[in-house]
């Protein structure tokens, strides 16, 4: 029954996208609201709930990621209703976008709720391939080139992940047989595995694949180029949903590896994240348009989430993850309006709004811009405090306390570069440039309000308690 409701929105969306009438553009976002039904049902179930045998299992982590992704997908569908008013898009492309969005959703269900490494990979690959054509709904030669670019780079990244999964499976198969693919079985028996070295190599290769997919060091630019070439709902989907699907895999894999070699896991992810933030801080400093700015900022946050997670700050990582998943798609969706006078018109982008809708828009976008650089009371402010606190706590049990303090100090310097850039951009948007009138539509405001309310809900004690219970 739950499986039926889980698949229903995607199936309905896929079928309706073939209907050739003008009213479809309004009907499809309404269908996306049905995604919330299985979410309510899943929250009422006892954890862990076996959806399909040992293959799909709903646990607290999967449920949280699925809920966050569902809210983002509703926001994106609402913003899609007025996409044609901001960019030149054919009606046929709308339907195709939803057709692939439906397939993307199926891939997401598989990867988020999977208890099987192989099925997780199949879902991730399926979701990735579905998004290739979404880039192509922008009929320009740049978008076409970037769609191919995305297809090739992502396929390599995904293949690297599969390579790692095969090695992990090979290391655990003598002990667990076919169950060596199951995350839960691996977690329960990891210490009995006779070849932990092979398991760790598999994990390292899988992680490299995932980090390439997230745009982390040294592949920092490809994702930003692709997001720049696409229409703005596509990067919103990437940052809010696809990156979440990758991160949940990282969470599950690293949770297992923590049991056998925590030091090497931390060292590996720390160096990777550190290098990523170092490069990205300067890329953000030099960013000249909103999409690239937000895209690089997304990479920085993914690096922080990975770092907090392996430092033992699972609560901080999950809070940061949720806050980023709501904030970043909102900012990407707002670029439809912000860039309506040209993509390099940053100065004055928050001026020229009339009426209640206009005022709500600039107020929410202004808040989001400050929230993404962790200005309190943004959930990111708290997650960073808890995250760095977890790093210090971890260092207490080692002889590297001073090194950790120095590393955190250096990270804070890098984060302050990003903070400076964002606040300078905010000031330029609000107080610089000329006042040019910009049009805001109701569906966009509703999307932003939904995401803003979801973000605020993260700060409720009940939400915090739920996140703590996951860790």
């Amino acid at each position: 029954m739950i499986i039926f409701f889980l698949l229903l929105p995607a199936i309905l969306m896929f079928i309706v996208s073939f209907v050739k009438t003008d009213k479809i553009a309004n009907l499809l976002p309404l269908i996306s609201f049905t995604i919330i039904i299985p979410n309510i049902m899943l929250f009422k179930l006892p954890y862990p709930y076996h959806l399909v045998g040992n293959y799909l299992i709903v646990d607290k982590l999967g449920d949280y990621v699925f809920l966050v992704s569902s809210v983002v997908s509703i926001g994106v569908s609402l913003a899609l209703m007025t996409l044609h008013k901001h960019v030149n898009i054919k009606k046929r492309a709308y339907n195709r976008f939803y057709r692939f969005f439906a397939l993307f959703w199926l891939g997401l269900i598989l990867s988020t709720l999977s208890n099987n490494m192989g099925i997780y990979w199949v879902g991730l690959e399926f979701a990735t391939l579905s998004t290739v054509y979404m880039i192509k709904i922008n009929y320009t030669s740049t978008a076409h080139k970037e769609a191919w670019n995305y297809m090739i780079v992502d396929t390599i990244a995904i293949s690297i992940i599969l390579f790692g999964i095969i090695l992990i499976y090979a290391s655990a198969k003598p002990l667990l047989g076919d169950n060596a693919m199951n995350f839960n079985a691996l977690l329960a028996h990891i210490k009995e595995i006779k070849m932990p070295f092979l398991f760790e190599i598999g994990f390292a290769i899988t992680t490299v694949g995932m980090f390439i997919k997230l745009g982390m060091f040294p592949m920092n630019l490809w994702l930003a180029d692709i997001e720049r070439a696409s229409f703005y709902p596509v990067p919103a989907l990437f940052s809010g949903i696809l990156e979440s699907a990758v991160m949940i895999g990282f969470f599950r894999f690293s949770k297992i590896v923590m049991q056998i070699d925590f030091t090497q896991l931390f060292g590996f992810v720390f160096i990777y994240s550190f290098l990523t933030i170092f490069i990205v801080a300067f890329l953000i400093y030099r960013a000249k348009d909103f999409i690239r700015l937000f895209s690089f900022s997304g990479i920085e946050h993914m690096a922080l989430i990975a770092l907090f997670w392996v430092s033992g700050g699972t609560f901080a990582a999950l809070l940061h993850f949720g806050a980023h998943a709501f904030l970043k798609p909102s900012l990407f969706l707002s670029t439809g309006v912000l860039e309506s006078k040209g993509k390099y018109h940053i100065a004055g982008a928050l001026r020229g709004y009339k009426g209640i809708k206009g005022k709500i828009f600039w107020f929410i976008v202004g808040l989001f811009l400050l929230a993404i650089v962790s200005v309190p009371p943004s959930p990111m402010f708290f997650s960073e405090i808890y995250g760095f606190g977890a790093m210090i706590n971890m260092a207490k049990h080692t002889h590297h306390m001073l090194a950790m303090i120095a590393a955190i100090a250096f990270l804070l310097i890098l984060l302050s570069i990003i903070f400076y850039r964002f606040t300078a951009i905010y000031q330029s948007m609000k107080y610089g440039g000329t006042q040019e009138e910009k049009k805001v539509y109701s569906s966009e405001i509703i999307a932003l309000v939904i995401l803003a309310v979801s973000l605020a809900l993260l700060l409720l004690p009940q939400s915090m308690q739920y996140l703590r219970s996951i860790s």
């Binding site: 293959y55 099987n116 192989g118 990979w121 391939l129 090739i152 293949s159």
Partner: protein, 197 residues
Amino acid sequence: MDNFLIGLFLATLIISIFTARLYRLIFWYFVNSLMLGLLAVFIGIKVHDNALIVSGVITLVLKALIIPYVLKYLSNKFHLQRQITPNIKVHYSVILIPAILVFTFFIAEPISHMLQANPNDISISISSLFLTLILMMEHNHVAPKIIGFLTLDNALFLLGITATNGMPMLVELGVFFDILMAIVIINLLFKDTGVKA
């Protein structure tokens, strides 16, 4: 027999790197997939694993028959450029390919000793991964890159067979389904373009 098939798998991959014509490259992909499918069937029979035999048969049908046919059809339909001269010159490739093979045998040694499988098979599987990456890198055109990542999938399947005697059936089916999806996407990307591929 399995050594013979793995050897031919590697040989077809090496020839692909030197190939400068698109149809010839599709042909070598066909032979590469044929060897892989036969190997899966052969190992499946040897270890009495029906799932692996089924995977081998699906590989033969999908990768050795349907995909090469579809690729040739697409290249005709969209008038893809058939002259695909590799960026890496032949005399450099002659040095590079053995270097990759030796290097892979060296780095795969600690891994291959841990597994019950033949260490040479594991090393060849991993070197195939590197060689497919070379195949993708050495071309500017999209078509050989597509064949490159399809061959990359073959190399991963080979690793799955040699290192683990095949992955669970459900996962294998999922991987095949994803390849079909990739072909659909490739078709759509070629279809809706005015840009030369």
